[in-house]
């Protein structure tokens, strides 16, 4: 059985970030990175650009082979981990091989969440999580005239935009009453919907699919309260769920994801988890939550890697804060923290700026003297500064008034003043 000091399962942002942190403190400790795909590391976030044709699938990789050889890291590609034995400190691979480890990081990410819809398993459909998925969707685009996107989240909307640009008739079906409900309030969501409609995408909200059935070469979606939709191609983008099936019976504490403390440690000594697979502390509350977002994977991976290497400089995870950026049909949007809070209830003060002519929108959510949520569309705000204000729980003091009038300048001034 092979032995390694550090074993990392999963080669995307969390795993790569952990590797960097380990090598910053421990130059020579034996390190093995395992990836289930036989590919160099890449980000799932790039995939819709492969679908659109913007990005060549050959150029998506974030590291080359030299990177690993130079750092003395063994990169095991195309190897699927099927089980973990925390007591023996070993993992088993599908090939039958086993690897013994001193410290283990679970950074296996997430897989597409499939909604429970009658008939889904008996019709052809696509998901988008791997490079293979993206290449397959891309190669099929020319064969279809119509496509339905099930789920109006970030991935679904990105794909819908590309499909429309390829001349397909696109219908987005979202079961909630507005698009991107985790990030944007009704004003922003209305703007996003109209931008997509102008782009030639049909958007149906509060659309519940009762059943899907085969319809010739395509698929028919039967909806509650709407006429059915018949399409050539179906893409399911209903969110993601942590990839934890291989942990069954391991004794590692899982709920929706792998439960970790604020050092990214699991309940088992010597085992950490980070990224989309981890269920970590919520920044705003005591509960645990999944936060499958790229920057969070980077931060969690770094904390885990530092912990694994016994780096005394490791700092505790500050808690998951919802945050993302969204580029659509020529517009740029972002959201941080409690951006979706819709109305004032005494606890929060909400300042909103809407400029329809310039397609400009921003919204700030204050609680007492602190900013707890920000959203913007073509806002000119610096999202990273806004994120820092939220996570630092920065009291705005006499800048508070300026934040209402000109939050972009106020943010830069705050940055210069408080964290340079």
């Amino acid at each position: 059985m092979d032995y390694t000091k550090y074993l990392i399962i999963g080669a995307s942002h969390a795993g790569l970030s952990a590797l960097e942190a380990i090598r910053a403190y421990d130059e020579h400790g034996t390190t093995v990175l395992v990836s289930q795909e036989d590919l160099l590391p890449y980000s799932p976030t790039i995939l819709y650009h492969v679908v659109s044709g913007r990005t060549d699938p050959e150029t998506v990789f974030l590291r080359d082979d030299k990177y690993f050889t130079r750092r003395d890291i063994s990169f095991l590609r195309g190897a699927r981990v099927v089980s973990v034995d925390p007591d023996e400190r070993s993992v088993s691979l599908e090939s039958g091989d086993r690897i013994q480890f001193e410290k283990l990081l679970l950074a296996t990410g997430a897989r597409p969440l499939l909604p429970r819809i009658k008939g889904l398993s008996s019709v052809p459909y696509h998901v988008l999580r791997t490079l293979d998925d993206a290449v397959r969707i891309r190669s099929e685009l020319g064969r279809h005239k119509t496509v339905a996107v099930l789920g109006g989240g970030l991935i679904g909307l990105h794909c819908a935009e590309s499909f429309a640009e390829h001349g397909l008739d696109v219908t987005v079906l979202e079961q909630e009453s507005s698009l991107l409900p985790g990030y944007f309030d009704d004003i922003a969501a209305r703007f996003i919907v109209s931008a997509f409609r102008e782009h030639g995408v049909q958007v149906m909200t509060s659309a519940r699919v009762e059943e899907v059935v085969k319809d010739g070469d395509g698929v028919a979606l039967n909806l509650e309260n709407h006429p059915s939709v018949r399409v050539g191609m179906l893409l399911v983008t209903a969110g993601v769920t942590p990839r934890i099936d291989f942990l069954v019976g391991s004794g590692i504490d899982t709920r929706e994801g792998v439960v970790v403390d604020n050092g990214m440690k699991t309940n088992k000594e010597h085992i950490w988890a980070a990224g989309d697979v981890a269920e970590a502390e919520d920044f705003f509350g005591a509960s645990q939550l999944l936060n499958p977002i790229l920057p969070d994977a980077v931060d969690q991976g770094r904390i885990a890697g530092m912990g694994m290497a016994d780096d005394p400089y490791v700092q505790a995870y500050q808690g998951a804060v919802s945050q993302n950026t969204f580029r659509f049909t020529g517009h740029h949007a972002f959201a941080v923290g409690k951006s979706m809070i819709r109305s004032e209830n005494g606890e929060y003060e909400i300042v909103t700026h809407v400029d329809e002519r310039q397609a400009r929108y921003w919204k700030l959510v204050f609680r007492e003297e602190v900013l707890e949520g920000v959203a913007g569309i073509n806002s000119g705000l610096d999202p990273g500064i806004m994120w820092q204000l939220v996570v630092r729980r920065q009291k705005l003091g006499n800048l508070r008034e300026q934040f209402r009038e000109n939050p972009a300048e106020a943010g830069r001034l705050a940055m210069s003043r408080w964290w340079r």
């Binding site: 650009h49 972002f334 610096d382 990273g384 830069r412 940055m415 210069s416």
Partner: protein, 188 residues
């Protein structure tokens, strides 16, 4: 070979908000002085009492690079500059969320990512600043050797603008262990 990197030092207290740096940057990069396309941004408090400056710090340990899903952002270890590839960039904007300093943003006209590239060693903003608020300084080799490993002070600032002690003390203490107290920390 020397590994001293050039870095733009900001002396905020000397800035009077004249905005020449913004104009010079935008003009050089886009041909028009409109402040929206400037890579350096000046923010005032409305009373002209204090100003903030946002510009890329060319961090040694850049979060924008870690958060880039397309490999468009890289740190050029030789030049000490964070580079951006237009060809690879998909304009997702995650870098603008990753940067705590407002050092990378989106050009509202072109929709493209924009950041300071230090004008190949001759930053237009520094050349035009006659208030002494912007200065091109060189960080030293020993700083870079340790800073490359991990910048434990403020990413991108050449450690107290020239003093290496703090960074070296931090790295040393980190190796010795957390039960050691440094009796004479470097002054700020």
């Amino acid at each position: 070979m020397s590994r001293g990197h050039q870095t733009i030092a900001v002396h905020r207290e000397r800035c009077d908000g004249c905005g020449k740096c913004v104009e010079a940057c935008a003009t050089l990069k886009t041909g028009s002085p409109g402040p929206e396309a400037s890579r350096i941004k000046v923010a005032g408090d409305g009373k002209r009492a204090s100003f903030g400056l946002a510009v890329c710090r060319q961090c040694a340990d850049p979060r924008c690079v870690s958060c880039c899903p397309s490999g468009a952002l890289l740190r050029d270890e030789e030049a000490g500059v964070v580079t951006w590839s237009e060809e690879k960039c998909v304009a997702c904007g995650l870098c603008t969320l990753a940067c705590p300093y407002g050092g990378i943003s989106l050009d509202p006209v072109s929709g493209k990512v924009m950041k300071c590239d230090q004008c190949e060693g001759k930053p237009a903003c520094v050349e035009v600043c006659d208030r002494g608020a912007l200065e091109l300084t060189t960080s030293s080799e020993i700083y870079n050797t340790w800073g490359d490993l991990e910048d434990l002070v403020v990413p991108g600032i050449s450690s107290c603008l020239g003093c290496n002690s703090e960074l070296l003390f931090r790295h040393t203490l980190r190796r010795i262990g957390s039960n050691v107290v440094l009796a004479t920390p470097p002054a700020v």
